[in-house]
Symmetry: D2
Subunit: 265 residues, 4 copies
């Protein structure tokens, strides 16, 4: 991965984050001869290549930028997308609840623009793999581009298929569904998951959660847990320390469960 | 790691989670000849060894348990501890904000009972490493035991040292401090971090945050971000879907920043 | 009302709040010859009568108490009860949303132990009135005692009746239902309310809210609003300013609507 | 008050709320010969006068409106203002915590555009009174207009004065400060309050709260309580029941305390 090695100096081909502030930044690959342009002025890539990471550079207008390597948080926050992507507050918790660690074999449906897919691909490491299902071709193509951008496309198998007919994957450690009707696919999920494996999903409405809860109980999913995460940012001014005025009130309800064997032996 | 392979059957030496419910479970290594005991009855380990993961077993009293492999979430929730450990809601978000991924070189102080250390060790993978500082010997010994339990102690270097005199680590990708006075160690943190690297901490009081914010600005840390995460659980009854009655109101304020080079080149 | 006059000195018959802390206090009427007893020691009422309000007194053990007049907040927080009472965070907002002000004619069902009834009786003033319905005699008797304690029973008409057969009240300004199935009484509520009047209720589960929303739309209730209120307390220590550790996560969903005339004129 | 009598039909001079939705409405006095205009069309006041409250009327374009009497909540939400007004979620709770009931004698500083003043004036009833301090003439004039609009200006004494020199009021039941530096006026507040009386304030930053907490302890204010209120609205669609996407994250920290006599008798 170009975005996580130990190089001290920016090289041609590296993915760079040019940041004017915590929320205002640009991520792009460095290419000799090209020019970064923004309303704060222009900077030639050749003036960035060879510079140490973490350095401050000025545009021709004199506007300051920091030259940084982007991290996962910055990458998914700027993912090109056609749909609502998942939020880091939810993704981080999902990682732990679904035990997604280096070596994990993870199934995801639907891929969308690949926001979560990027994180899954990073965390399963070289020894793990992600199987990501998506019916809409344009979404899948976008997701592929986003994965290629961070050099992780070899950790993901993209599959165009209606999961109603089943996943061809078996013995997965975890399955995450980002679809409006996960309750329609519980048998398919069970067949994909190893026994004792983790299932998770994110649903915007209580009606969807209710329907899912009813169906989980009927399909030998146990230890069902429903929660929501609220994230509140603060103004980082020490003399006026207070929460910001407005916040995201809702992304969705997280539902987690474990797939077990039916009955008792 | 015994707790994340693809074996279908429980073997001697595996770490097992014997679960009566989402919140009531026990984690222990399976050893032939030993007996699991709880107020819901006893089960011989030999009656578990060889069983498929995800199976339901009954104690001699007839109380049902599921035999599961524990995941990271379950492991850190049952970590033996002498102090307050960090919560999964915060840890998951920290992973993303500090870009802790397979291959990362991470510095942590203080270790405490090793709750966060276990997660860091799991996520840096075989190619990464964690350097964990702790002055109190009994805490460090406890953390070592907790890491050994999950077979990840080789990914962690435990160090007994006052970090006031500096970390001997350099070029770290990320530094996390779980200490009451992170503002006293900012120079040391800068020397440990690679340029552009991530710093994070969790602080219970606004007074600590204020002091840190003042000092971060003076030490070339930029893009400072302060937030808090609230997690609300729901009763998973579809006919009476509602939040649970009480919740954790506060664990701490999360502060993130990036270390950059001073001035402009 | 003995609890809101302008007297400076405590008199026999006054309701007194003897407070050791913000959360530890006792409310009782002052009676010559009687003795207040707690595990912090005893105080003769005669040692309180004639003292100025706001004074500190010591028990025979030397434990300090403040002698205060109780306010509505303190009164409802110590209401004798058999059931869950409503929380001040919700009650205060209901007052504004249902426009309960001096002179209002308010209908309430069910009374319960009269926690909300006390507040309604206080706020409708001498010119207003509260009609409170409750089927359970023991609850109604308890509510009557609680209203008598604060000298406001003449502002409340307590009615023992199944509201399925209708309220005999008409032209009410506001109707509040504290019952699990408000959706069963919408016609009765409409008949009790004046045209344009306010309806409100508090429901613990999303299932109840869903059912109510469907039925409100069918019964010419408009401008339906659903919300929930979260209250977070802080430790009032200036050097360690932070939220308290735990909080009430949920009391209920508040639903408000206005009753209008059907169709168009 | 024209806005809380029991008349069934709208009369000339009444304050009317013409509402297209829960959040889209207009409040104005009915005057024969005048015309209501909005982008949804026009309606002659003479077509409203004489109509029953709660009726639906159509603009000349055919857009439907409901003709309603405005309540306190709707009135303060549409108060003409130059500054940030207080939110109903906070005001309702303040009413209970400061025991503001019919008959109360309340001191407020600063008046601002009179949002809170309107609520206080309504709730103290005919037997109570509000003393409201404001140094800026234009704000005070605006507040007077807002109070006159709802016919409650006779319950409020507006005072132009720097409260640093003291309130001329004594024996007040409650004092509320909506000023950035309440800690500078604690002696003045004590002199205005009756012994045992209630003090409250709303402060945006933790720094202000810290300073206030230190000073309250030095001035014989006891039972100090700090809290914040979060209000979350839901989409009122029964088939897609969920919180709205965004919410107000912060208005301020509420601080309450009671003024007591110094020392022990």
């Amino acid at each position: 991965m170009t975005w996580n090695d130990s190089e001290i100096f920016a090289r041609e081909g590296d993915l760079a984050q040019l940041a004017a502030s915590q929320v205002k930044y640009f991520i792009f690959p460095l290419k000799s001869g090209q020019v970064f342009q923004s309303h704060r002025g222009v900077i030639a890539h050749d003036d960035l290549i060879g510079k140490p990471w973490g350095v401050q550079v000025l545009s021709h207008q004199g506007s300051p930028f920091y030259l940084l390597k982007p991290g996962l948080y910055e990458l998914i926050s700027t993912t090109k997308r056609n749909t609502q992507i998942m939020y880091p507050k939810d993704i981080g918790y999902i990682l732990l609840r679904l035990n997604i660690i280096p070596g994990s074999k993870v199934v995801e449906a639907g891929t969308g623009s690949g926001g979560l897919t990027q994180v899954l691909a990073a965390y399963v490491g070289e020894g793990g793999h992600v199987y990501s299902y998506e019916l809409r071709d344009e979404m899948q193509n976008l997701a592929k581009k986003n994965l290629t951008r961070i050099n992780l496309s070899d950790r993901v198998t993209f599959i165009s298929k209606d999961i109603q007919t089943g996943f061809e994957i078996h013995n997965a450690d975890s399955v995450f569904l980002d679809l409006p009707n996960p309750y329609d696919y519980l048998l398919q999920i069970k067949q994909a998951l190893k026994s004792g494996g983790y299932f998770g999903t994110l649903l915007p409405t209580t009606n969807q959660v209710n329907k899912l809860l009813i169906n989980l109980a009927r399909n030998d999913f146990v230890f069902v847990d429903v929660c929501e995460i609220l994230l509140r940012f603060y103004q980082s001014e020490p003399e006026k320390f207070r929460p910001v005025d407005r916040m995201v009130a809702h992304t969705g309800y997280l539902v987690f469960a474990r797939s077990v064997l039916p009955g008792e032996v």
